[in-house]
Symmetry: C2
Subunit: 300 residues, 2 copies
DNA sequence: CTCGAACGATACCCTGCGGGTATGGATGTG
DNA sequence: CACATCCATACCCGCAGGGTATCGTTCGAG
């Protein structure tokens, strides 16, 4: 079939997310009837039913579900194409690097020093965004490079270079029954209240875990005894007075990686990767260790 | 800016590939003036100049070059979204597997046997395509899974599972000065005429290496003394009478991997990956060895 | 059981965008 | 210098895409 226009994809995504033609139309700034028609036409041309409609409700079919995720990917790719071209067209070439607070694990300064020595280096603009925001920024072209954290961030679609790994620890209220232990395992934490990070849908079964957006929120909630958290060792320095940090023996190590869109052929990006690897090499002799890590299992 | 429509991306790709508005318009089945206008409008909305035009020639700007590769990716993503949704909408669920001739390294039979035992298994349609065609088929959704060969195929954008690795050997005319050696290194082959495979642009400097599309073409050319090739060991069984196969000591091993679009969440695909891994495990005890391999360096 | 509200689909209209033809202007070539 | 080539501009038209009005169905309140 002839490919759908991006407008049609955006329409479908809106409807699929709202599961309501009226609200979706409102969100898109248009009236409901043309939206209904557009979706119907899209389905007819694709030859697949994407939505189950009754006059009371709208639901995604199986095909609609895959088309939703695929459409999001495609729309990201389209907006990214524009952003990256715009970036490349600028007269003052600049790299945009996305990271969350402390997302560089202290390596940024050293990386930039190495970077500036490279002949391919250009100016770097560092954007400090919210936790879990880096990957989307890289996906839709708002950033050229990002520091991501495996296994929390979704690395699909990116090439990455490992910077360092850190073991994780449990962060507990000082009064917690486990706070005095010398070490814990993940099994010890079953049944405890864990936080929900942005991008984490909360799964199906768990009854509304408290949502957190940064480390200090976690510390606050832990200090109040409402939460137990699993965090990288380096957070120990920012632990609050009334919380205890206990090593976790079997938690998978966290990795900080530098990531960039795959198949990138920019010299400026390449130079930054080199600089990152060098900086990590130097730092790697110290407390943190570098090594192999399995980032994630995509399939369910 | 508002996102470009897929039609506009397709227009740009056509012009960027032809570097000629007239021919591009012809290819698109339209007249030249509306095409010119569409591109101009696209540039104006993006706020970036993509093409350098004189009244005699058209050339890509830097931004145009990145927009070309990004647009191709985006268009692939759009068509893939449709294909995958159509696939998911079929009443008889079916997996499409793309491979080149012998691209399974003899494992397919065993993989399918393992697969059929899995409760998530569905019918599998095997498409045997040309060499280098598997990755594009996976990218634009014509296939759900593929057997790819690292480091020849571009694995960017896919998740993969290693099936097996093979050492490579040199394939020479029997009369060649090196044909009698017990072993060779890559250095011994410098200056020799090597074939150009599909997808290989031929680089910049080399003077028109002969283009080949399959193994028998290579064998023919080698037998005629016009070529020297580097191929996986398993091809030895299909060597022609007048060619010699000599082990290469320092050639990187080839890997056969099973690949699928990243972030896939289909149980049917997951089952096939499991089956592949099991089949490879069983076979791995034999002649071929499994191991670590560095697939490719993306950055230049 | 009835009535009204909610919601998607249909009918109908109109504007503007995407495409067509004709032609202009610039530039390299015999 | 005339001509061919090739992209841009001018102008026109049809229809796709969007708007308003309304219908048909379904669910829930009473």
């Amino acid at each position: 079939m002839d490919v759908p226009e991006t407008r049609e994809l955006a329409y479908f995504v809106a409807v699929a997310e709202e599961l309501h033609f009226g609200r979706a139309a409102q969100r898109l700034g248009m009236a409901q009837p043309p939206l209904s028609r557009a979706i119907a036409r899209l389905e007819r041309r694709m030859g697949v039913q994407l939505l189950e409609r009754t006059s009371r409700s709208v639901n995604l079919t199986g095909a609609g579900q895959v088309f939703l995720t695929e459409s999001r990917k495609a729309l990201d790719a389209v907006t990214a194409s524009v952003r990256r071209a715009q970036r490349a067209g600028r007269t003052d070439p600049k790299l945009t690097l996305a990271m969350k607070p402390n997302g560089d694990a202290g390596l940024l300064e050293s990386i930039l020093q190495h970077y500036r020595r490279d002949p391919d280096a250009v100016d770097i603009e560092v954007i400090v965004c919210g936790i879990g925001e880096q990957a989307p920024m890289l996906r839709d072209g708002r950033a050229d490079v990002a520091f991501l954290t495996a296994p929390y961030d979704d690395l699909a679609g990116f090439d990455t270079e490992l910077l360092l790994t850190q073991d994780q620890m449990a962060v507990l209220p000082r009064a917690h029954r486990l706070a005095g232990r010398a070490a814990l395992t993940l099994a010890d934490l079953t049944g405890e209240q864990l936080p929900r990070w942005p991008g984490d849908d909360g799964g199906a079964t768990d009854g509304r875990r408290p949502e957190v957006r940064d480390i200090s929120q976690v510390m606050q909630l832990v200090a109040l005894g409402q939460l137990v958290a699993v965090l990288p060792e380096s957070v120990r320095q920012r632990a609050w007075p009334d919380v205890a940090c206990v090593p976790l023996l079997d938690a998978p190590p966290t990795a900080v990686v530098v990531a960039w869109p795959e198949r990138t052929t920019s010299r400026a990006v390449a130079a930054l990767i080199r600089a990152s690897a060098e900086a990590a090499e130097v730092a790697g002799a110290g407390a943190v260790r570098r090594g192999e890590i399995r980032y994630q299992d995509t399939l369910t």
